[in-house]
């Protein structure tokens, strides 16, 4: 034990010395502890029990997870989630990029278009589902009316397997294209015009500039949108729930992982199984996070923002 004032930076003294700072940042950690960490840990605890939300909890060990592995409804939800994610993300990011490039040009009333494309993102989901439900209605929808007037076969949008998935994918595309376009636009504005001028000097056409200058320089932004839409896609819930209800429509074609979790926990009051599904989703999301991390660090880790190679 030393009495020298120079060696007082031991942990305890540091706590004593900096307690106001610790206190000042504590609200976040306290709130996180109560509303973040505790529910996470508790859901793991619940997933090892059979519990209806009020009565006594019955310990069942890993039975919920065993059931999950052979539950066809769960695997159907997993495959639906990935199919809808795939069907929505690729067109969504493509359209977003096209819109961003167009908005980046010298066009009139740019501000209006930016707001207009962003509007779907802040529109009420319930109102949106009602509109989509009417537009894609099998019998009464304008999409089928249009198909009919063109003497084409109508599509059972809300009762067939692919119809349901397409409708949900279209809802996702409609809602998030503008959001991603705004992010791309920000990325485009950060690219120096010198690069474009140099490319033009070298005789590159518009298409070539887009493919070989714009896209490579936007790569970090594109990766960011891929990651955010992966997170969004894996937790897809509101669109199918408001469009088709708690069972995901005919043959559960619109049942996603989170919707199945909600269905089990909050309509069947099977909180143990609902929690188990939540943790399965966590494993799947962690897997994707690892893949994304690998993509970002291995492929673009050495590249810096705004520098070409």
């Amino acid at each position: 034990m030393t009495t020298s004032p120079l060696t007082t930076r031991r942990p305890v003294s540091a706590l004593k010395r900096y307690w106001p700072q610790y206190l000042a940042i504590s609200p976040f950690y306290i709130l996180f502890l109560v509303f973040g960490l505790f529910p996470i840990v508790f859901s793991l605890y619940i997933s090892l029990h059979d519990w209806d939300g009020i009565g006594t909890m019955k310990w069942v060990g890993l039975a919920q997870f065993q059931y999950l592995l052979v539950d066809p409804r769960f695997w159907n939800a997993v495959s639906n989630t990935f199919i809808i994610w795939f069907m929505s993300t690729i067109p969504m990011l493509f359209f977003a990029l096209v819109i961003a490039v167009l908005l980046h040009q010298n066009i009139r009333s740019k501000g209006f278009y930016r707001v207009a494309y962003f509007m779907p993102n802040v529109t009420s989901m319930v109102a949106m589902a009602l509109v989509f439900g009417s537009v894609f209605s099998d019998t009464f929808g304008i999409v089928n009316s249009a198909l009919k007037s063109l003497s084409l076969d109508t599509v059972p949008w809300l009762t067939s397997d692919w119809g349901i998935k397409t409708t949900i994918a279209v809802m996702v595309i409609w809602r998030f294209t503008g959001y991603n376009a705004i992010i791309y636009l920000a990325g485009l504005q950060a690219i120096s015009s010198d690069v474009y001028d140099a490319a033009k000097m070298d005789g590159a056409g518009t298409a070539r500039i887009f493919a070989q200058v714009t896209i490579p320089m936007l790569r970090p932004v594109i990766l960011f949108t891929v990651i955010t839409s992966t997170i969004g896609g894996l937790s897809l819930f509101t669109e199918p729930q408001v469009l088709l209800g708690n069972t995901g429509g005919p043959n559960e074609s619109g049942m996603t992982i989170v919707l199945y979790q909600y269905n089990q926990a909050f309509t069947q009051f099977d909180f143990g199984y609902g929690s188990a599904i939540g943790w399965a989703l966590f494993v799947i999301a962690a897997l994707f996070a690892a893949i994304n991390w690998w993509l970002v660090s291995e492929r673009t880790g050495t590249k810096k923002w705004g520098r070409t190679k």
């Binding site: 809300l158 429509g249 009051f269």
Partner: protein, 439 residues
């Protein structure tokens, strides 16, 4: 001062004082919250104030106004909390947390889901429930009695069912127009199917929006459902209610008399456009239809449904065991659901009475212009007296979910009915086995 990082003793002092005050406030709040959690189960501490949880349009505001001043026959007053969003989740959360539980609560028609936790509620038999039993429809009363015989869920409103139909569309397809004749022509399910085929053939109009409606309404009108009160599984019986309802629904789907319209938005279009000519639903559907399709006023009528009438919907009142004065709560409940009060409830929020004495009031039998001047309430009052006593188990929905899913598969995707039935049974059994309810 904000930018001053010089360590001026004065600033340090005031900052420290500020911090200690903050700490003290935070500590006080935390202590208060802890005390609140550990000592009070009920949501209010005022001994004279009973708290009621209800949802929009479930109780007449005029009656509540009176109880807010004082509960008749007691020194207590009522505080009413209008619960928005998911009522069940909020009530379950407070019951599970044993904190902030209301003294009286409304419960919806899914009341059987609370049977496994019946010990959370007061048995109203101990408060004299039996004295009032004769005042209520016997089947509605029985819905509120748990399998162990405790009377925990008090009858509020009911939803006797009948068929709503478009007189003009029926007449255009050479079907009868008059309610009595319609009821006679469609008195059995095979006769109803024939009428549907005739309607489709003669005018291309569907009789029903989808096959799930007929399935659900047959179950709603049956004395036996998925389980016996003793917990025996009945749903697999080849001659049981579930299979019988399934067969009629499959026949309706395969005869092409359903419009395959599933979502609420599409169903609204169906009523407005007249592509679907009828619906089998409870009395509360009338006001919904009026606001959905106001232009079809005068073209609708109500007839008794094929087979027997059933019940769809209707809510209950319960007294959580933490209630600070169960006697006063019970007084409030019996006052709120007396025949006179239920007449008032009907006038204010159009909820159909559970006390048949209310039917005698002329205020519950006026000709309705929307239904071509028919006294539709009279039809439902007759239905209400014929609804069978039946048992809804907490686990019905574990099975019905799969059955309804497979029925929709048969209807919309042409799945083989035998395979669909086998898949539905498997899903139900798997689900029940997982929860330890079947071996």
């Amino acid at each position: 001062m904000l930018n001053d990082e010089s360590g001026n003793p004065m600033d340090n002092l005031s900052r420290r004082r500020f911090m200690s005050v903050t700490m003290a406030v935070a500590g006080l709040a935390a202590t208060g919250a802890l005390v609140g959690c550990s000592r009070t189960e009920s949501i209010s501490t005022d001994p004279n104030l009973l708290t009621l949880w209800y949802w929009k349009r479930s109780i007449s505001e005029k009656l509540l106004d009176s109880a807010r001043r004082s509960i008749t026959g007691t020194p207590r007053r009522l505080r009413t909390d209008l619960i928005g969003g998911d009522f069940d989740v909020k009530l379950r959360t407070s019951l599970a947390g044993r904190a902030y539980v209301p003294d009286i609560t409304g419960l919806n028609s899914n009341v059987a889901l609370y049977f496994p936790s019946e010990d959370q509620f007061v048995d109203m038999n101990e408060l004299g429930a039996q004295e009032h039993k004769a005042d209520y429809l016997p089947w509605k009363w029985q819905f509120g009695v748990t399998p162990t015989g405790r009377m925990c869920f008090w009858p509020m409103d009911t939803g006797p069912t009948a068929q709503f139909y478009r007189t003009d569309l029926f007449a255009a397809a050479s079907l009868p127009r008059d309610p009595d004749e319609v009821a006679a022509t469609t008195n059995t399910w095979p006769a109803w199917l024939d009428a549907g085929k005739k309607l489709k053939r003669n005018s291309g109009v569907s009789l029903l929006a989808n096959a799930s409606i007929v399935y659900s309404q047959i179950v709603n009108a049956s004395a036996e459902r998925y389980f016996s009160p003793a917990g025996r599984a009945l749903f697999q019986d080849p001659g049981g209610t579930i299979r019988r309802a399934w067969d009629v629904a499959v026949a309706a789907a395969q005869a092409g008399i359903t419009a395959k319209v599933l979502t609420p938005a599409e169903q609204n279009s169906a009523w407005v456009s007249g592509k679907v000519a009828s619906n089998i639903e409870a009395v509360w559907w009338g006001p919904i239809l009026k606001s959905t399709a106001p232009n079809s006023s005068g073209k609708w009528a109500v007839a008794h449904q094929p087979g027997a009438p059933g019940n769809s919907g209707g809510s209950f009142l319960a007294i959580p065991k933490s209630c600070k004065d169960p006697k006063a709560a019970f007084d409030f409940i019996t006052w709120l659901t007396s025949p006179e009060a239920q007449i008032q409830t009907y006038e204010d929020v159009q909820l159909f009475p559970s006390a048949p004495k209310a039917f005698e009031s002329p205020r519950l039998s006026s000709p309705d212009k929307f239904f071509g001047g028919q006294d539709v309430l009279g039809v439902f009052q007759e239905s209400a007296k014929e609804v069978p006593i039946t048992f809804i188990s907490p686990y019905d929905s574990q099975v019905s979910e799969g059955v309804l899913k497979e029925l929709t598969n048969v209807e919309t995707q042409g799945k083989d009915p035998d395979r669909a039935w086998a898949d539905a049974m498997n899903q139900g059994i798997r689900q029940l086995e997982k929860r330890g309810l079947m071996k």
